[in-house]
């Protein structure tokens, strides 16, 4: 941004030569700005990792921002066992995996019907599903809560999986539509001539070719349910069914004055995502772009 202002202030009547000179200074300013923002981004994460390995004495005075003097791994065992983080972690995985599977199946089938089958109203149906992009989850919280409690389904994995899948659907269909459009329709025709029915075309041709889309949708959906708080907080109140975000809230209430185990819990919840990000940064970024830019 620094560069932008310096360039535009010279842009009116200064010659080319001068601009090049100022843009050298500008270049340095740009890198200083970028470096500061890098520090701002990384420092809280670094601090989280370090205080998860310290005791209160270090955190509260002796060694606030440095690397831990004694690596206190017991913070982690405390968070995982007495803090139940292991259970919360397992719950989050179960909910995320089931949600992704349901979302993928429903989105693939619906997108196939909307974009490859010929029928009246396929456009309108697409518009109908796209409404889901703007509907906030608040919209359904009361009716779903009431319905779940009537059916005695509060405090179950399904109480989260079904709503998560439903709210992921619009984005999944949007992403699927983009990818499915890239598969040539001639393939469908060729398969039909070979005697394939529409179910055969779907399973033998479309689904295998949609693999890149599945990864994109999977990543996006995973992050949505891994991090969701409002539904998880209200629909599942039993300790053995809590997901990570709710579990962390519970744990921080339990260890109010003891920061080490809280830090460890935060790291446990964040570590898998960041680890995957290190290896798949481009794919993950693409999945966010795919959703927003086409919308």
């Amino acid at each position: 941004m620094a560069e932008k202002t310096s360039a535009s202030s010279f842009s009116l009547d200064s010659g080319k030569y001068e601009i090049q000179k100022t843009s050298k200074v500008g270049q340095v300013l740009v890198y200083i700005g970028l470096a500061i923002w890098t520090f701002v981004n990384l420092f809280p994460i670094y601090w989280m990792f370090t205080f998860s390995l310290k005791d209160n004495k270090e955190i509260f005075g002796e060694n606030v921002a440095g690397l831990p003097k004694h690596w206190l791994w017991s913070n982690y065992t405390r968070a995982l066992n007495t803090g139940h983080m292991l259970v919360y972690f397992k719950n989050s995985i179960i909910v995320a995996v089931a949600t992704i599977l349901i979302t993928l199946i429903a989105a693939l089938m619906a997108t196939y019907a909307i974009t490859r089958l010929t029928w009246k109203g396929s456009k309108a149906m697409n518009g109908f599903f796209m409404l889901g992009l703007t509907i906030p989850i608040h919209a359904s919280i009361v009716p779903i809560y009431v319905q779940l409690s009537k059916m005695h389904m509060l405090n179950s994995y399904w109480a989260l999986i079904v709503p998560y899948a439903a709210f992921s659907l619009a984005m999944a269909i949007l992403i699927c539509t983009g990818f499915m459009g890239d598969i040539p329709k001639d393939l469908d025709e060729a398969a039909r001539i070979d005697g394939c029915g529409i179910w055969g075309i779907f399973f033998k041709i479309i689904v295998p070719l949609m693999r890149p889309a599945l990864a994109t949708i999977g990543i996006y959906t995973f992050l949505q349910c891994w991090n969701e708080l409002m539904f998880a907080n209200i629909f599942n109140s039993k300790d053995e069914l809590k997901t990570l975000p709710v579990g962390i809230q519970a744990l921080s209430g339990q260890y109010t004055t003891d920061w080490g185990p809280i830090g460890a819990a935060l790291v446990v919840a964040t570590f898998p995502t960041l680890l995957v990000y290190v290896f798949l940064s481009k794919k993950i970024q693409e999945s966010f772009i795919a959703g927003a830019v086409k919308g």
């Binding site: 981004n41 779907f202 209200i234 975000p245």
Partner: protein, 292 residues
């Protein structure tokens, strides 16, 4: 080959799973929420029809404080659009110019988006901690003890203290979207402008920014509706306190439902949120269309 209309039953079979989920979890509940909002109801007993009394109370009662909550979330929206988005746009323009280390910077700036808001909230609770938090400790060490505050516990600073982590988390998100746009601006156009003697500033202003307007529109819509819906971070940091200084419609709604058992009123707030989100999305679309 001539296209043949597919058998309706097959179409329906393919749509069935998605329709069940979508209608069951999104569409029917919206209608039900609208219906509940006309009742006085504790969630379990009998419902009493009271017409639009909930709406009237929502907008007139100081005890509920909906207007204050709405003002807070609109302030967050304003800050997002006028502080966060310009930062994101600036970063996207800089990184989109093929500078050295582009991918690395991009990946670091996007990282906070992936971290759970609860984790970020807990982390910032620690940063803001009045006695041991890194913010006050640093200020004290720099000899600026007079600036130290109970950041989240003081009415004047609490909402700002809630905004900073949002900024920290989402600058990278909008930056990524805008960066994708900047990258899609044709390099030939850029080169041509450069040969004609345009500065980077001019290229950005007359070529890149007009070219990425559709994405800026999406970003503005996301920033505003996101602020209206904001819940997680506020719930973790202050839960609406101190003295409702950081109350937003979502915290108010949860409060109505699960502390006061006012399901009718909770539904009313939910309906208002849906209406506001759609209204703002339409408004922003209109503004961007007229601008063309």
């Amino acid at each position: 080959m001539k296209k043949k209309v597919t058998n309706g039953l097959n179409v329906f079979a393919f749509l069935l799973p998605a329709l069940l989920l979508f209608v069951g979890v999104l569409i029917a509940p919206i209608i039900l929420s609208g219906y509940y909002s006309f009742f006085d109801w504790n969630g379990f007993g009998a419902k009493t029809f009271i017409g639009i009394s909930n709406y009237k109370e929502l907008f007139t009662s100081n005890a509920i404080g909906f207007l204050k909550a709405l003002r807070n979330s609109l302030l967050l929206a304003f800050l997002s659009v006028f502080i966060q988005l310009p930062m994101s746009l600036g970063l996207a323009l800089i990184l989109g110019r093929n500078i050295k280390g582009e991918r690395g910077f991009l990946s670091v700036y996007f990282m906070p988006v992936l971290i759970s808001t609860v984790v970020i909230g807990q982390l910032w609770l620690k940063i803001y901690n009045p006695s041991y938090g890194i913010l006050n400790v640093t200020l004290t060490k720099l000899g600026l003890e007079s600036l130290t505050r109970t950041w989240l516990g003081t009415k004047e600073t609490a909402l700002w203290a809630c905004f900073v982590p949002t900024l920290w988390q989402y600058v990278g998100y909008h930056m990524l979207l805008l960066y994708a746009g900047v990258k899609s601006v044709s390099p030939e156009l850029r080169e041509a402008a450069k040969i004609d003697g345009a500065t980077n500033g001019q290229i950005n202003r007359y070529i890149v920014i007009p070219g990425i307007k559709p994405i800026i529109r999406v970003s503005v819509i996301f920033a505003i509706t996101g602020s209206l819906k904001s819940f997680d971070l506020i719930y973790v940091l202050t839960n609406g306190g101190p003295l409702h200084a950081t109350e937003v419609p979502s915290t108010l709604m949860i409060n109505m439902l699960f502390l006061r058992n006012r399901y009718g009123m909770g539904s009313t707030i939910a309906v208002m949120l849906i209406i506001l989100c759609f209204a703002f999305a339409l408004l922003i679309n209109k503004i961007f269309k007229e601008d063309k």
